[in-house]
C-alpha cells in the first residue's frame, strides 16, 4: 500500500499538472484508437463517402473548371482538399457518439472515481477526432494523387492535413459538448444533421468562392468550414495567398480553443447532475 502511494506522489511531482493532463489524454486517445482499429468496418465506412466524392463527383463535374473564375485547370486538384475538409468536418460533428457510448456504459463514471484528470476525458475525444482526420486526410490525398492531383506538393499536404485536423477537432468540441448536455443518441443525430449539411453548403467546398452568390459569400465568412476550405485550397491554386492560409489557420485554432472550452464546461455541467 505505502509503496504504491509513494509512487503516486513521485509520478505527480515528476509530471506536474499539465504533464498529467497530457499523459492521461494520451492513455485515453490510445484506448479510443485501439478500439477503432479493432473495428476495421468503421475505418472502411469512414472512407467510403470521401471516395465517392473523389471518384464519382470529380468525374461528373470534371468540366466545371472551364467556367471563367476557376483558379485551377483540374477539378480533382480543386476538389481533393475539399474532400479532406468535408470528411474531417463530418468526423468532428459525429465524434460525440463515442462520448454517449462511454456515458451509457458507465466508463466515464468509473474514471471519475479515479484520479484521472477530468479535462483529459474531454481533450482526448477532441484530440482523437483531429488525429483520425489527419490519417483520413493522408489516405484521401494519396488516392487523389493516383487520380492525378498534385495537392500543392509537400507543403500543400501539410497545410491540408493541418486544416483537416483543426476543423475536425473544432467541431468535435461542439459535438462532445452536445453529447454531454443531451446524453441521447437520437438528439445527437438530429443535431449533427442539423448543423452538418447547412454548414457544408454555406461554404465554397465544391465550387470557387467567387462563383457562389454574394449573400452566401457573406455567410460563409463566419463559417469555420469555409476557413478550413480556404486554408486547405490555397496551396493547390496557381498563385496561393499565404496570408489567407495563415489567417484561416489562426481562426481555426481559436475555434478549437473555444469549442473545447465549451465541451469542458459541458463536462462540468454533466458532473453537477450526477
Amino acid at each position: 500500500m505505502s509503496q504504491v502511494a509513494a509512487s503516486d506522489v513521485a509520478s505527480s511531482a515528476r509530471l506536474g499538472r499539465l504533464g498529467e493532463i497530457l499523459a492521461h489524454s494520451s492513455y485515453m486517445v490510445g484506448r479510443q484508437t485501439r478500439n477503432l482499429f479493432r473495428e476495421p468496418i468503421w475505418i472502411a465506412m469512414m472512407l467510403v463517402q470521401p471516395m465517392f466524392w473523389l471518384l464519382l463527383y470529380s468525374q461528373l463535374f470534371r468540366r466545371l473548371v472551364e467556367l471563367p473564375g476557376f483558379e485551377t485547370d483540374s477539378y480533382i486538384d480543386f476538389l481533393a482538399p475539399a474532400v479532406v475538409i468535408m470528411t474531417a468536418f463530418f468526423q468532428g460533428t459525429w465524434s460525440g457518439m463515442g462520448m454517449i457510448t462511454d456515458l451509457d456504459r458507465g466508463v466515464i463514471e468509473r474514471f471519475l472515481a479515479t484520479p484521472a484528470r477530468r479535462s483529459a476525458l474531454v481533450f482526448s475525444q477532441v484530440l482523437r477526432s483531429g488525429l483520425t482526420s489527419v490519417i483520413q486526410g493522408v489516405i484521401i490525398l494519396a488516392v487523389s494523387l493516383v487520380l492525378g492531383a498534385e495537392n500543392g506538393g509537400p507543403v500543400g499536404w501539410l497545410v491540408i492535413m493541418l486544416a483537416g485536423g483543426l476543423v475536425s477537432a473544432g467541431f468535435a468540441g461542439i459535438s462532445q459538448g452536445v453529447a454531454l448536455i443531451t446524453r441521447r443518441e437520437a438528439t445527437m443525430i438530429a443535431v449533427a444533421n442539423f448543423i452538418g449539411l447547412p454548414l457544408m453548403f454555406f461554404s465554397a467546398m465544391l465550387i470557387d468562392f467567387d462563383l457562389i452568390p454574394r449573400w452566401m459569400q457573406w455567410a460563409a465568412r463566419f463559417n469555420p468550414v469555409q476557413w478550413a476550405v480556404d486554408a486547405a485550397r490555397e496551396p493547390v491554386l496557381a498563385s496561393p495567398d499565404w496570408s489567407l492560409v495563415g489567417l484561416s489557420m489562426l481562426l481555426l485554432a481559436a475555434f478549437v480553443v473555444a469549442t473545447t472550452g465549451f465541451a469542458t464546461w459541458a463536462f462540468r455541467a454533466y458532473q453537477r447532475t450526477l
Binding site: 466508463v107 472515481a113 479515479t114 484520479p115
Partner: protein, 319 residues
C-alpha cells in the same frame, strides 16, 4: 481509526429526498454492508463517498480525507465497483486493467506484474487477451472487482456487486469477496438488497430506508435483539389485519405485523406458540392457509425496524 465516517449526509434530486441525514462509521479492516431496498439511498451514499457527486449538506471522510475538499486524495485511496460496471467492452481484460492502473499512477514492470497478478487471482488469465464483449456476466463482474483493486486501495466500495448474477456466479463472488476481506487489510463497504448477502459477508451492517439509517449493528446482534422465533402465517385474502389483532392479543406473542395476506409474529418459541395461534385464528373464523416458523432472519430485523416487508418495499423501489 475509522476508515469511513459519514455525518448527516443529505442529498436531493429535484423533489426526491434521496438522503435525509445518513450517518454511520466503518472501522478499518471491517466489511460493512448498507442494506436496503432499491431507492433507499444506498447508491447515493456510495456515490458521495467515492467523490462522484457532492452532498447538499453533511460531511464524510474516507481514509482520513474529506470527500468534498480532498477528493483527489480520496480517489487515490479507494477502489470502486459501480453498479453499472463501467468496463470498456471493446477492450480486453488486460487492456482495461492496464489503463486503470495508469490513471492510478502505476507504470512499467510494477503495473505489468500487478495486472498479471489480478488476472490470475480472479481467474481471468485465459480470457485476458480477449475483448470483454465475449465475457460472461460473472467474468465481467470479477473484472470490475479487479479494476477497483489495481492500485491496492485502502478502502473498497462495491455497489450491488452481485445484482444480476446467476446464483452460481453470485456464490463464486461471495467466496471471492470473503477471501479479499480476510486476506488484505482492506476496509470494504458494500451495498446490497440481498439480506442473505449482508448476513453472509458483513461484519456489521446498517439498514437504510427512505434516505436514513434505521438501525446499525452486527448481523448476529441485530437478530439476537429480536427475542425468540418468527412465525409467518398465511391467511385468506383480506383477513391479515384482523388476524394480526387476534394474534397480538395472545400471551406469548411479542409482536404481530400484517402484510397483505401474510401475518408475521415474533414469539418466544415457535413450536409451542403455533397451536395457540392456530386455535385463536380458527376460533375467530379466520382460515389459515399455511404456517411456518424460523429463527429470526434479517428479513425480520428489517420488518421490525421499518414496519415494512423487505420484499414488497424492494419492488416498490424499482417501480
Amino acid at each position: 481509526m475509522d476508515a469511513i465516517t459519514v455525518g448527516a449526509l443529505e442529498k436531493r434530486y429535484g423533489d426526491v429526498h434521496a438522503l435525509a441525514g445518513v450517518s454511520f462509521a466503518v472501522r478499518q479492516g471491517e466489511v460493512f454492508a448498507l442494506l436496503g431496498p432499491n431507492g433507499a439511498g444506498k447508491s447515493t451514499t456510495v456515490r458521495i463517498l467515492v467523490t462522484l457527486t457532492k452532498p447538499d449538506s453533511g460531511a464524510a471522510t474516507v481514509a482520513g480525507h474529506d470527500v468534498v475538499h480532498e477528493a483527489d486524495a480520496v480517489r487515490r485511496s479507494i477502489g470502486y465497483v459501480p453498479q453499472a460496471s463501467g468496463i470498456d467492452r471493446e477492450a480486453t481484460g488486460r487492456e482495461n486493467l492496464t489503463l486503470q492502473g495508469r490513471v492510478q499512477g502505476l507504470r512499467g514492470p510494477v503495473l505489468r506484474e500487478r495486472v498479471d497478478e489480478l488476472l490470475a487471482l480472479f481467474g481471468l488469465g485465459e480470457a485476458a487477451d480477449r475483448t470483454v464483449r465475449g465475457y460472461s456476466g460473472g467474468m465481467k463482474r470479477r473484472l470490475d472487482v479487479a479494476l477497483g483493486l489495481v492500485h491496492r486501495p485502502q478502502v473498497f466500495f462495491l455497489d450491488e456487486p452481485t445484482t444480476g448474477l446467476d446464483p452460481e456466479a453470485r456464490a463464486a463472488m461471495w467466496d471471492e469477496l470473503g477471501r479479499l476481506a480476510r486476506g488484505e487489510r482492506l476496509t470494504i463497504l458494500l451495498t446490497t438488497h440481498y439480506l442473505e448477502e449482508a448476513d453472509r459477508l458483513a461484519d456489521r451492517l446498517a439498514i437504510v430506508s427512505h434516505g436514513r439509517v434505521v438501525v446499525e449493528g452486527t448481523p448476529e446482534g441485530l437478530k439476537r435483539e429480536l427475542r425468540g422465533d418468527s412465525v409467518a402465517v398465511e391467511v385468506t385474502d383480506g383477513l391479515g389485519e384482523r388476524a394480526a389483532a387476534v394474534v397480538s392479543a395472545l400471551q406469548d406473542v411479542h409482536e404481530a405485523i400484517p402484510e397483505g395476506r401474510m401475518l408475521r409474529a415474533r414469539v418466544e418459541s415457535g413450536a409451542t406458540a403455533i397451536p395457540g395461534i392456530l386455535s385463536a385464528l380458527e376460533g375467530n373464523g379466520i382460515a389459515v392457509v399455511s404456517v411456518t416458523t424460523a429463527r429470526p432472519s434479517l428479513d425480520d430485523v428489517y420488518l421490525h425496524h421499518t414496519g415494512r416487508d423487505f420484499r414488497s418495499e424492494d419492488e416498490a423501489g424499482v417501480r
